[in-house]
């Protein structure tokens, strides 16, 4: 079960992040994880939020460009080499990771990582076979 990530196109201008996060706060949408990919001119703000559909509608209403993407979430033990093991599984299968970001979890002893790969199904299968636990939307917002 993939996780819905929303991505927003943000020009590099002072105050844009503040504006966008305020829009979500106003609708009681909780942000659990975020990453920003930036270039000289613009950035892509990627968010894992409590209500992705509502977030898309809100952001779109404000006139911004937004998209929703299915990404994979995995839980790894918070020990040295935890991430290395997971990423190795994908490397062995020849699956490249477009981007990844980690965040604090409500579960003690674990870290959650969001992975963007070309084919979620193939990657899920490989990870599950290697004993790596996939997480769902509700694991993040329990």
């Amino acid at each position: 079960m993939p996780i819905k990530q929303i991505s927003i196109f943000v020009e590099n201008k002072p105050g844009r992040l503040a504006d966008i996060t305020a829009m979500l706060a106003k609708r009681d949408i909780d942000i659990r994880a975020l990453s920003i990919a930036d270039t000289t001119d613009y950035g892509i703000l990627r968010l894992i939020v409590s209500h992705p559909e509502a977030a898309v509608v809100t952001i779109r209403e404000e006139g911004l460009t937004v998209s929703a993407t299915n990404v994979l979430g995995i839980a790894i033990p918070d020990v040295p080499g935890g991430f290395a093991k997971a990423i190795k599984v994908l490397a062995n299968e020849g699956i490249s990771v477009e981007y990844a970001y980690a965040f604090i979890t409500p579960e003690k002893g674990h870290a959650f990582i969001i992975l963007r790969v070309a084919d979620n199904e193939i990657a899920s299968e490989a990870l599950t076979k290697a004993g790596i636990r996939l997480i769902e939307q509700r694991d993040i917002f329990e």
Partner: protein, 433 residues
């Protein structure tokens, strides 16, 4: 159903038009020579006497007039009638210099209004229509030009003027406007607003639009026709000649019929100033044979167009002009290459994107640098930087291909580029030349 306002003229045989034009040209040349010192001096300089002009064919003997002549004689120096005969003044925005001022006698207003009346009827307008005029009212000729034409047709004018777009939409809905007149970029903006307000354009009584005062493309026409569920007609004009209604499109939508009984057109090579054959693009030139107050002789419009004299399938015999391809003075010279904003627009549309763009030209280390700003849309967007960069590269390559000069593509947030309610701000030239 006849869509003619003045069938006798609009379908007149060529010899008949020639006769009218010859008669009016002769009268105009006398008017210029006797009442405008500027023209008397100009004619005398080349040894031309009004008697030398015997028919419309002699028009090539006359000297050209350029915009600078209007500026040099600012504000009323080229007027050929005394104040008591004037009934109206208009002025152009003067974005590239001192504004140009134009004047009209009541006969001039009448003939100009006939031009817009022909345009409205060619677009299917009748006396039982509501005509929604969203061109600006004021010194700009757009608002009053269409207004008077609509009244001449006997239709009901709704003089909304520009601005307050949600009120425009409310009026379209509540009053049931049948024909809207505005700039094409504003029509697109109204279309966007209708969509945002969740209104089905098919539910509106609107069935046609008459759009002009700025360049627009066939792609824009299709977009407007879709977003407003109407048929979109082009109209051409410039305040120096009269205003909108100098030429107008018929149901064939492939060129605009020129009111050549009032405004005699020529197309000349902009370098040699020699007339070019039918179908060849060059600079459009008008002689105001139907004007008393400001009878400009062979006025160079800077618009690049071509003429066709073939009879149109709509039945009209009035000569047609092609949609102007650009302006000789809109043309940007980027590192020695001629670039028209319309070419940039064409590239953007051909890639399936909305034509929301702006061209910015800078000079960095003595080198021209062109940046094309394009609004981000969900079509172009991706969560992956790699994908967006690929899109940027695709646009850059297409621009380079068409323009023959490189441009940097800069994606910006939606609705951040200026949508002017008058003329679209497509070019920002920061070069201090």
């Amino acid at each position: 159903m006849s869509n003619y306002y003045n069938k006798e003229i609009e379908t007149a045989p060529r010899e008949y038009l020639d006769a009218i034009q010859s008669m009016r040209l002769i009268r105009m040349v006398y008017n210029c020579y006797e009442n405008v010192p500027f023209y008397k001096k100009k004619f005398d300089e080349i040894g031309l006497h009004p008697q030398d002009i015997k028919s419309i064919a002699d028009i090539v003997k006359l000297p050209f007039t350029v915009k600078q002549d209007l500026r040099d004689n600012y504000p009323f120096g080229l007027f050929a009638v005394p104040k008591e005969k004037l009934v109206r003044i208009h002025a152009s925005s003067g974005t590239t210099g001192k504004q140009t001022v134009v004047g009209y006698t009541s006969g001039d207003v009448d003939r100009w209004s006939e031009g817009t009346a022909r345009a409205i009827m060619a677009a299917g307008g009748t006396k039982s229509d509501y005509i929604h005029v969203s061109y600006g009212y004021g010194l700009f000729t757009g608002g009053l030009g269409l207004h008077y034409g609509a009244e001449k047709v006997g239709a009901t004018v709704i003089p909304v003027s520009s601005g307050n777009t949600s009120r425009q939409v409310q009026i379209l809905q509540d009053f049931g406007s049948n024909i809207i007149c505005c700039t094409p970029s504003y029509a697109m903006f109204i279309g966007e607003t209708i969509r945002e307000m969740g209104i089905d354009p098919e539910s509106l009584p609107l069935r046609a639009g008459i759009f002009g005062a700025e360049p627009w493309s066939e792609n824009m026409r299709r977009e407007i026709e879709k977003s407003l569920a109407i048929k979109a007609y082009d109209i051409y004009g410039l305040s120096e000649i009269a205003g909108p209604g100098v030429a107008y499109e018929c149901c064939e939508q492939n060129g605009m019929h020129i009111c050549e009984d009032f405004f005699y057109p020529e197309v000349v090579d902009p370098d040699t100033l020699e007339p070019v054959p039918d179908g060849t693009f060059g600079e459009l030139v008008f002689t105001c044979i139907g004007k008393e107050a400001l009878p400009l002789v062979r006025y160079r419009t800077r618009d690049v167009s071509a003429l066709t004299h073939e009879k149109c399938a709509c039945g009209r015999t009035l000569v047609k002009m092609q949609k102007p391809r650009g302006r000789t003075d809109d043309m940007l010279i980027i590192r020695g290459v001629n670039v028209f904003p319309s070419q940039v627009e064409h590239v953007i549309l051909s890639l399936g994107m909305e034509p929301n763009y702006q061209i910015v030209v800078d000079r960095v280390n003595n080198l021209d640098v062109m940046t094309v700003k394009i609004e981000m849309s969900e079509l172009l967007f991706s969560d992956s930087v790699r994908q967006i960069e690929e899109t940027e590269r695709r646009i850059t390559a297409a621009l380079q291909n068409t323009l023959g000069v490189s441009a940097t593509v800069h994606l910006v947030e939606p609705r951040t580029l200026p949508r002017s309610e008058g003329k679209a701000v497509r070019v920002v030239d920061n070069r201090k030349l």
